[in-house]
Point group: C2
Chain length 550, copies 2
């Protein structure tokens, strides 16, 4: 039985790791689990404490802790900050189970050029490499990761059992999708992606021996590994007891898995479906794990709030979602109609609370400070903040979590109101570009019988905070905007490269980069939301606000 | 001439370090600076690029780059994340200037048990250790740091020239207070703390030789440093040209420094004055470096807003500060009177914008959702958010930065309204406990002729969001509350220790810890503010919101 990296604490535990009582509680639980391993061999992620703490795997068999493997290649980039907390492991251990040899590695260990699995397999003769992992989802990760693991299994001529965390924690979503790969690189079994799942798989580790017969590396091991970074494997003899009952269950369950389940496409048909599953899982877990059963959001008639409505209702059930219409004098009738039609289609509650009277009241109270009678940014923001106040009042009074509906394109350039439409507890589409919002909505309509009214997909985007307002009056086309944001924020390209090599218009690039830089302060105060892009974004984006570079 | 650590980029540059164009621009500037070092030897912090990037010091003399020292002991705790970006240096170099030997180290290098300065001084015979630093202020740091550097100078029998950054960046304040210490541990010259300053100091490095005569370590160096971590110093001969003009200026300026200036107490009389200077410097730099000339805040008549008013007017000038009175039907007349008296005393502008009509308008619009007619948390928060909206409208319309007035005690336990009184661009007293707020105000009144009306200091604290409300109805006494927050948030003590060893009342401890844990989400969305406590707080506090521990 294999559980993921830091299965006991959740990942990442962050500064909880600085609390001695947190570490101690985790040790108490590994002890409780030990007592439950009756006729089972278990690999379980936990925090090991020796001199300092380690990101570790306990190898437990039949109520005995056989060994503890400490992660060697800590990861310290993006949202990973393992070197802030953990010491590095140094020992490559293998253990014996029923006459077969097994090596355990943790997450990024297996990506490293000095992969301990290599030593375990080639020098230590391990036939199975267990890799426990808590590496979050991002677009493109799944096929990238599968190829890497398949390559490793071929390279080491070993089976790989990869157990990855599944679920959401704050801004991260872990896709699960745990795998068993044979020594020829073939995926022979798979957990469902984006769902909690249990995988039972029988493998014949003897296969490995015949494959290795022709590989010269397995003859001349000592010659190949004379380098200084190789520590001798500690071979732990045990777990050789006959595990009859587990065997029985295992054989039974293997037969219940149809061969087609080894294909990812059996679960997920396209990238849009994959992203949608990630957003639904992340939203559900943020709400439920933080004790919220119900959610509320501003239902504007725009495409962003439509996507959030669908995600939320799929995450925690349509009966637990309420959309609030908050029309002003600038709201179009079609926005109200589209909102109500959407609410009807997806069977969520809706309430209408017009803001015109409150807005007039602010204008009257503040008349002495306004420079002119025109509707300007100040007055637009007042409207957005009235709406924020109303949603938060509903949250306070009824215990509903407020979902914000901002997408990545607008929050990147600050086309949103702090404490207004940015007010809320969780932001499901925070890392989704506007062009991707359209793509996801089209996928939803294709798969779920056009539940999003067509008019929402074809209307010109507008914040409707003053008459005849359109997003494109302020911003370049979303197609171009999204490309520039991606190049600048995710790929760290500089202006000159974007203009001269990528060929984007100079004025637009300069404007967008300026907007991104000066809105760092707004993003800093934004609510958490799901991260799905591989680049740095969300909480792991660490820019000084006070710096004049660029 | 010695400039601080990463003087070219500001500290910490955070993810700007991931941008190749940022690194290149910094290299362009070190080249520009090189061309300006006519008859000067300069040590300047910059980002060095070899294979990867380094936190480095360029040693430049008379237009030649003599050497580059790469920081060896990177710091990766609290807000420091150097291992996210930098490679570690490995070489201990010294260089020769006018027949004297000098070693350069960077910040935490000198704190480390394998301090490169030790090798430079004892093995390499360096007579002067230059330490360039960007280590931020915290309460207690200054005397701690001075003692450490004095101890090092005695231990190594070397002069130490310590150049520390001064100014604010986001949440950090650097106190400057650069020092020259002789080989007997005596501070012989000092830059003004909390101010930009230039220090010119003549020292006779020949003194070192006579002191070292009796120290056996300087005879048997090779014996003492046979360990594996010692790399041979690279001795760079140069900078031996006669620097006549620099000499002349140096001698002149030395005489202008009175001996008393070596005492910290000549600048700062007590801890409260030190903290106040830190808050003023941090607020000024945040505003000015981010392009704001004016600031606005809610003037409630309470002690927090009084302290923020004084800090802000000392930071950027009373004529640039406006306090907004936003009385409701629950505001007492004395709050209004006290506010106006304070504004008059410190000569800041004040504007009154009553919120009662807006509040009634919300109550009317939301009447269907309220469970009862009583004033509850929902209605209290609506008032706070109306005030937030008004302050932000003034900010939008007039370009003033909104200062939030929340203290550490209330934001720690969430006794504040997200998007209400928490709305704003900068939070000067975010890391100041309520008990410290009182202490600072008393210090201000003692030093500045009672500018804060006495009634503000003696009245019972209240949010005035409903009739007869008092903070103590919701929270334990601030004296106890502050101790528990400090123990839990800064010192990572667990419940059992606080109750059984420290003797705090069990019910209170449990309540406070529960409030701290569940308000992580609020703090996450709070505005940046100055960090002055040594423990982890502000942006460097990294707790998952989604975790059920505790």
């Amino acid at each position: 039985m294999i559980l993921p990296e830091l299965a006991l604490t959740g990942y990442p535990p962050e500064d909880l790791l600085l609390k001695p009582s947190f570490i101690d509680k985790n040790l108490e639980y590994i002890e409780k689990i030990r007592q439950l391993t009756d006729k089972i061999t278990l690999v379980c992620g936990f925090v090991n404490k020796e001199n300092g703490i380690f990101n570790s795997a306990a190898i437990i068999s039949d109520k005995k802790i056989l060994s503890v493997y400490n992660k060697q290649h800590l990861y310290n980039h993006s949202f990973f900050e393992e070197e802030r907390y953990f010491q590095k492991g140094t020992e490559n251990k293998i253990f014996e189970i029923k006459n077969s040899l097994v090596g355990v590695t943790i997450c990024k260990d297996i990506h490293h050029s000095e992969d301990p699995a290599k030593i375990q397999a080639i020098y230590g003769q391990a036939q199975l490499i267990v890799n426990i992992s808590a590496f979050p989802y991002y677009i493109g990760k799944i096929s990238e990761y599968e190829k890497l693991l398949q390559k490793k299994s071929v390279d080491y001529r070993a089976f790989i059992a990869y157990a990855n965390l599944v679920g959401g924690q704050d801004e991260l979503v872990f896709e699960g999708n745990s795998l068993v790969i044979d020594a020829n690189g073939k995926i022979i079994s798979r957990c469902k992606p984006f769902e909690e799942d249990r995988l039972i798989c029988d493998i014949d580790l003897e296969e490995v021996k015949s494959i290795r017969l022709k590989d010269v590396r397995y003859e001349n091991q000592k010659l190949m590994f004379s380098g200084k970074n190789i520590s001798l494997p500690k071979l732990i003899k045990s777990a050789t007891k006959s595990l009859d009952s587990a065997d029985k269950e295992s054989s039974l369950n293997k037969r219940s898995y149809a061969p087609s389940y080894t294909n990812y496409e059996d679960f997920i048909s396209c990238e849009d479906e994959e992203i949608l599953k990630a957003l639904i899982l992340g939203t559900r877990d943020y709400l439920h794990k933080n004790g919220f059963e119900k959610a509320v959001f501003g239902l504007s008639g725009g495409i962003d709030s439509a996507l959030v409505a669908v995600i939320a209702s799929m995450a925690i059930g349509n009966e637990n979602i309420t959309g609030i219409l908050m029309p002003s004098c600038y709201s179009s009738q079609s926005s109200i109609d589209d909102s109500l039609e959407l609410a009807k289609n997806i069977k969520i509650n809706s309430i209408s609370i017009p803001i015109s009277r409150m807005y007039e009241c602010y204008l009257e109270s503040l008349k002495n400070i306004f420079k002119s009678d025109k509707i300007n940014l100040t007055k637009e923001n007042i409207q957005a903040r009235i709406r924020g106040n109303i949603l938060m009042a509903l949250s306070n009074e009824l215990g509903w979590l407020v979902l914000t509906t901002g997408n990545k394109s607008e929050t990147s350039v600050g086309y949103c109101t702090l404490y207004g439409d940015m007010a809320g507890g969780f932001s499901p589409i925070k890392d989704i570009y506007k062009t991707k919002v359209y793509s996801l909505c089209k996928f939803i309509n294709k798969k779920y019988n056009r539940i999003i009214p067509e008019n929402i997909l074809i209307k010109v985007p507008s914040a409707e905070l003053k008459p005849n307002q359109k997003d494109e009056d302020y911003l370049p086309s979303y197609d171009l905007l999204d490309k520039i944001i991606k190049a600048y924020m995710e790929e760290d390209m500089d202006l000159s490269y974007m203009i001269h090599t990528m060929g984007y218009p100079a004025e637009t690039v300069k404007k967008v980069v300026h907007l991104i830089d000066r809105n760092e302060y707004k993003r800093r105060q934004g609510s958490p939301g799901i991260k799905i892009n591989p680049g740095i974004s969300g909480k792991d984006r660490r820019y000084p606000m006070t710096n004049r570079f660029g």
